[in-house]
Symmetry: C2
Subunit: 324 residues, 2 copies
């Protein structure tokens, strides 16, 4: 197959766009498209100070790479979750994130959950007794908290995550199968900072397929961690990705159409509910915005850990430590 | 496996309800549940004069059987579509519908499309050039028109169709994957007769799985046509049924949950759009309500046939002929 732009041999064929591209033109096309999405969804501009959440995976490192190539001011945030899973998952993720930052002379903020708060995510999941034996719920809660806080404390104007279209479509499928209205109205490429202390969140890759992101990382020579998080194995998100890929196989463009027609229907006023936040107030302990009465769920979770582990918690528990 | 109610051997295990039943209790349970749905969705009562659309398949004949067993006044409507498909599909469907009516002393109205209007559905599809070579779109339009008109002309207060949960969930999936708002807000167990001349439409079986309907028909000894319509092979609806059955396999109750949470979300006001009908007016030719300017799409379709086939059309074209 030939490249649409120059007739060289194509390295990727994107059936949903009826577009095949060679290496050179694919590497041009990705940032061009990203820039288009950034403008279309009014994500940020060159005056913004962007914090990119990096996990060491293909999506977030490629996002950082693309933003850098587009000339945006983008620092990284790596959150050490203490996940081992027999493959040294977190250590390797950190190493690759640091490697990328050093290679490109970028600033990476690091928050290690264990040294900052006193336990790894898997330990926290056991102690807090949330999430039915899987650490995913505790992990999600912790990452949201830390990302938000790091963006706020570091005076970043926007927090960017590497969610791709497969991620977004899978979550949309999950929320649609249960018709979870409050989640449906909130899912968008941009989540506005509707309250002081809440970071503005954006997903510049939300229209790229997972395979495009993998192709980009590989062709750009970005070293990333190939493994999924060991705890994600068998997750519903992965299952819905498979279901959507099956539909995509049968009808190219099906998963993009699913996501884009959702965004369009929402913009055209399909839903009566708005993505209005619940009444938020500052957490009594950490001051971050929360809808829970008194302390936020993150602080309450660590209160419980403190009861169990007692004096073994570090003194600075509750404070985010950012190393540059 | 034992029957939940009497410990006899179960003939069916409904995993979504965690309910296994023996033949006797399953045959009791089906009308009980149907009665529950009729009341829950305020479909009709014993004073209503019901027209059941029967196709000769398991769903519609079982629906007629159940309504009869529940003591409702329910006549049948068989629409002869002239589908051959190498298996005499329409002839066999009519024979089985007549057989059921005769066996139970019920009244069956019959409308043969060819003798009433002058062409079979497959001919009509070719001549009218709608639906990209498949007769399904023309067939749907014609059936909706004829059902509505037969209900109106026969003074029926409600039109009942045999759509089961698999049908409803597949249509919902299709409309959701495209976020077709106007279809989503209209999908419901009851479609009110919002304009004079429009029949009130109900789907009393909308919460039964297809396999329950097949089990009911078989156990009741109802003779029905096993084949799908030959034109339905490879349809998107059948594809989405397969996708949903796969999800059901992995998570029993998934397709019921998908449909019921949709109805619930809608009732709780998820959608801003209402199922308000477009502005309707009487068709200039047949007087049935239509949103199209001038003549309704059904009459316009036959105008085209008349142009092509000319004098070969019967004189009464445009009038529904009901034989008892």
């Amino acid at each position: 197959m030939k490249c649409r732009k120059c007739s060289e041999t194509a390295i990727i064929n994107m059936r949903q766009h009826k577009l095949a591209l060679c290496q050179e033109h694919f590497l041009e096309w990705m940032p061009e498209q990203t820039q288009r999405f950034i403008e279309k969804y009014k994500m940020f501009d060159h005056a913004d100070k962007i914090l990119v959440a990096v996990s060491g995976g293909k999506d977030s490192l490629s996002l950082w790479d693309i933003l850098r190539r587009l000339g945006y001011q983008a620092d990284g945030l790596y959150i050490g979750l203490g996940i081992e899973g027999g493959i040294g998952y977190s250590d390797e993720s950190r190493r690759l994130s640091e490697h990328f930052a050093a290679e490109h002379g970028l600033k990476l903020n690091v928050v290690e959950v264990e040294s900052t708060y006193g336990a790894t995510i898997p330990e926290l999941a056991v102690i807090s007794n949330r999430g039915h034996g899987k650490p995913c719920s505790v992990c999600g809660l912790s990452k949201r908290y830390i990302m938000n806080r790091a963006a706020h404390d570091g005076d970043y104007t926007v927090l960017a995550t590497g969610h791709n279209l497969d991620d977004e479509a899978a979550v949309l499928m999950q929320n649609t199968l249960n018709w979870a209205g409050s989640y449906l109205v909130r899912q968008a490429p941009v989540l506005e900072a509707s309250r002081p202390g809440l970071a503005r969140k954006v997903k510049p890759l939300c229209r790229f397929y997972e395979r495009e992101m993998a192709a980009y990382a590989i062709v750009r020579g970005i070293e990333y961690i190939y493994d999924e998080c060991p705890h994600a194995v068998g997750s519903t998100t992965i299952y819905y990705k498979e279901v959507l890929n099956q539909m995509e196989e049968k009808r190219p463009g099906a998963k993009l159409q699913f996501y884009l027609s959702f965004l369009q229907a929402k913009e055209q006023g399909l839903f009566a509910l708005k993505a209005a936040d619940a009444e938020l107030h500052p957490c009594e302990k950490c001051g971050q915005p929360t809808s829970a009465p008194g302390e936020c769920s993150f602080c309450r979770m660590w209160d419980k850990v403190r009861e169990v582990k007692g004096a073994r918690l570090p003194a600075e528990a509750g404070l985010v430590q950012i190393e540059s």
